[in-house]
């Protein structure tokens, strides 16, 4: 059994050390400059060898959760409470100017959404890798050059000598995403935060990048927080799923259980909005839109869009409770479970 709220009793995949989470997000609270809360106490745990898919619509707070874990909140946003622990070490005090006590890049690394824009246009691919290798591994120029070529081979850019000399604008988006992954690996991190890393790629590139990430997680025992709005990608890569809505986790579950039987009506709605080939049923998009942080409804934030709201949902916000091996924050789901 895992401790804490982000766990869940789902059987862990082989090699996953669920007793010693690599990354613990504990009750994260983030507000913008107007004082509106964007994260209302987000807790997640992530172990080495595990892929956690963090899903939700745009504006639900999943990217902010990733940025908080990196200690890189955008300007104007501030951490108002909670704790980030990396390998058991607490990082409450870090912010934009303090580079996360040397954690960033070395223990926790980011794979960005737009890899091409994340690379410096005036520098070669090789420069980016050598830069990280020298900083994080303390290598000299020659050793770093050799290690950078090895990383390029690892992410499938061969022959590495050729790509090391190239500039980001000479590579395709998919190739640059491989470069961004190689760059994230320069510090031998335990944790990778991937924020929509495949959204900008076509499907074949997307499949290749997902395969590369899966191999890395398995071979190097990395913990991967995979932020996406694409449930198809989650089904492919994740071991567990966490669903966010309006700055809160509303459901966590093992991936098989989630797709087989989602507990939260929001999860149901997300699944029902995916077109399917084998179930010849109509796509049912979720009605309405995500409310803005300044105009959250009372009670359960999802009740205006919910398919089966109860009277209690209008005034009482549900808390996360265990349900079927996962956690869910829904009055209706709890009633169903206890019935």
């Amino acid at each position: 059994m895992t401790s804490g709220r982000g766990g869940g009793a789902a059987p862990a995949p082989a090699g996953v050390d669920i007793l010693h989470p690599a990354l613990e997000l504990d009750d994260l609270r983030v507000a913008n400059a107007e004082g509106q809360a964007l994260l209302h106490g987000v807790s997640l745990q992530l172990a080495r060898g595990e892929v956690l898919g963090l899903v939700g619509e745009s504006g639900c707070g999943k990217s902010i959760t990733g940025a908080t874990a990196m200690g890189m909140l955008p300007p104007g946003l501030a951490l108002r409470g909670g704790n980030v622990r990396i390998a058991g070490e607490s990082l409450t005090a870090f912010n934009e100017t303090a580079p996360a006590n040397g954690m960033r890049g070395r223990h926790i690394a980011l794979i960005p959404q737009d890899a091409t824009a994340s690379l410096n246009p005036t520098r070669t691919i090789g420069w980016h890798l050598v830069d990280g290798l020298r900083r994080h591994r303390g290598l000299d120029a020659r050793e770093a050059g050799r290690a950078s070529r090895q990383l390029l081979s690892e992410v499938g850019l061969t022959p590495p000598e050729r790509w090391a000399r190239a500039y980001p604008h000479q590579l395709s988006g998919g190739m640059n995403q491989r470069v961004a992954i190689a760059r994230a690996l320069t510090g031998n991190p335990d944790i990778l935060i991937a924020d929509e890393p495949t959204t900008a790629l076509d499907v074949t590139m997307q499949a290749q990048v997902l395969e590369l990430l899966t191999n890395l997680v398995q071979s190097a025992g990395l913990a991967l927080l995979f932020i996406t709005h694409d449930l198809g990608v989650v089904a492919q890569i994740a071991d567990r799923v966490a669903v966010m809505y309006c700055g809160r986790i509303v459901e966590t579950a093992a991936v098989a259980a989630f797709f087989h039987r989602p507990r939260h009506p929001y999860s149901e709605g997300l699944l029902a909005s995916i077109p399917s080939l084998d179930r010849r049923q109509d796509v049912a998009p979720l009605p309405g839109t995500v409310p803005s942080p300044g105009a959250l409804p009372d009670g359960c934030a999802f009740h205006p869009r919910c398919s089966r709201p109860l009277p209690v949902c209008l005034g009482n916000r549900p808390h996360l409770n265990t349900a079927g091996g996962g956690l869910v924050a829904c009055h209706a789901a709890m009633e169903l479970a206890s019935a």
Partner: protein, 310 residues
């Protein structure tokens, strides 16, 4: 890269030719040079003999042919005033203008670029506001006003520096300061804007995410990118040296090309005006060519355009 360099050089040479040709005709079309050069009360015979002597009775195309073939061999005609080769004016005064311009330009970079960088890095703070207020003041102050103010303060009131002339290093300080301070205001504003734009780019956030410390983010990631527009701007300032030279050289009685241009125009000394136009156009076009070449060096997207990779 070689092809890029050759194309730009060829274009610069053509631009120079078009510019000097245009000015050649502009200075001569529908103008009786003899009447302008001599006294208004000169007799018709005097004017005619003047025009014959200097070749202004020939057709414009003949004159142009003689001038351009001469110019290509270094013969730019003779001054009406002292009958010396016009090119001698340039030879005498160019070193003085270069001395002043280079000193002013160096000062402009040394003050303007670090001020702009500091303002961008400390964006929104008191440092930023102080630097930008000074820059706004410097930008809106005409260089002749600043020059006179400096002259009054340091030469007349404090009596630390000479007010006019060019015979010692002390003479260089005030005109170079006038030049450099006026120019640095614009450079500071431009550097700040370029730096702020680059600092907002995703690759800067990505560099931070990869663990680069703040100094490395600025120096190794932001500055090489911000340098591209700043170098362009500096190149254009080289081109504007001329306009500044005319003003600053006049205020401080600095015997350079700017001053020569003013006196040549006042004296209707055609060959001298013409050769100065060639020199100033060469400055301007050469500066632009230099910017183009530096662009290629600084920006791999231009250098590698049409390259074999990827």
């Amino acid at each position: 890269m070689t092809g890029y360099f050759l194309r730009r050089t060829l274009r610069a040479v053509i631009t120079l030719w078009v510019a000097v040709t245009f000015f050649f005709f502009l200075l001569r079309v529908d103008v009786n040079i003899g009447l302008l050069a001599l006294n208004m009360n000169a007799s018709q015979e005097a004017i005619d003999s003047f025009n014959t002597r200097w070749g202004f009775d020939k057709s414009l195309l003949d004159q142009y042919w003689l001038w351009i073939t001469g110019a290509l061999q270094g013969d730019f005609g003779y001054s009406f005033r002292d009958a010396r080769p016009a090119a001698d004016w340039v030879a005498e005064r160019l070193p003085k203008t270069l001395e002043l311009s280079l000193a002013g330009f160096a000062l402009m970079i040394v003050i303007g670029v670090p001020a702009g960088l500091a303002a961008a890095i400390r964006n929104g703070t008191a440092t930023d506001r102080t630097i930008m207020s000074l820059a706004a003041a410097g930008y809106s102050l005409p260089s002749f006003v600043l020059g006179l103010a400096l002259m009054y303060t340091f030469a007349v009131y404090l009596q630390l520096l000479p007010s006019t002339g060019s015979t010692s290093f002390a003479h260089l300080i005030l005109p170079a300061a006038t030049y450099g301070l006026t120019g640095s205001a614009g450079i500071a504003r431009f550097t700040r804007a370029a730096m702020l734009e680059v600092l907002g780019k995703p690759y800067i956030a990505a560099a931070r995410a990869s663990g680069a410390p703040p100094a490395a983010v600025v120096l190794r990631h932001a500055v090489p990118n911000a340098a591209i527009p700043v170098v362009t701007m500096l190149g254009f300032s080289v081109g504007q040296l001329v306009g500044h030279a005319v003003i600053v050289e006049t205020v401080f009685a600095w015997p350079g090309l700017g001053q020569a241009l003013i006196s040549a125009v006042a004296n209707r000394d055609l060959a001298v005006v013409q050769v100065l136009v060639v020199v100033f156009a060469t400055f301007m076009i050469g500066a632009n060519l230099l910017v183009d070449i530096l662009y290629g060096v600084l920006d791999p997207r231009i250098r590698t355009a049409g390259g074999a990779n990827g």
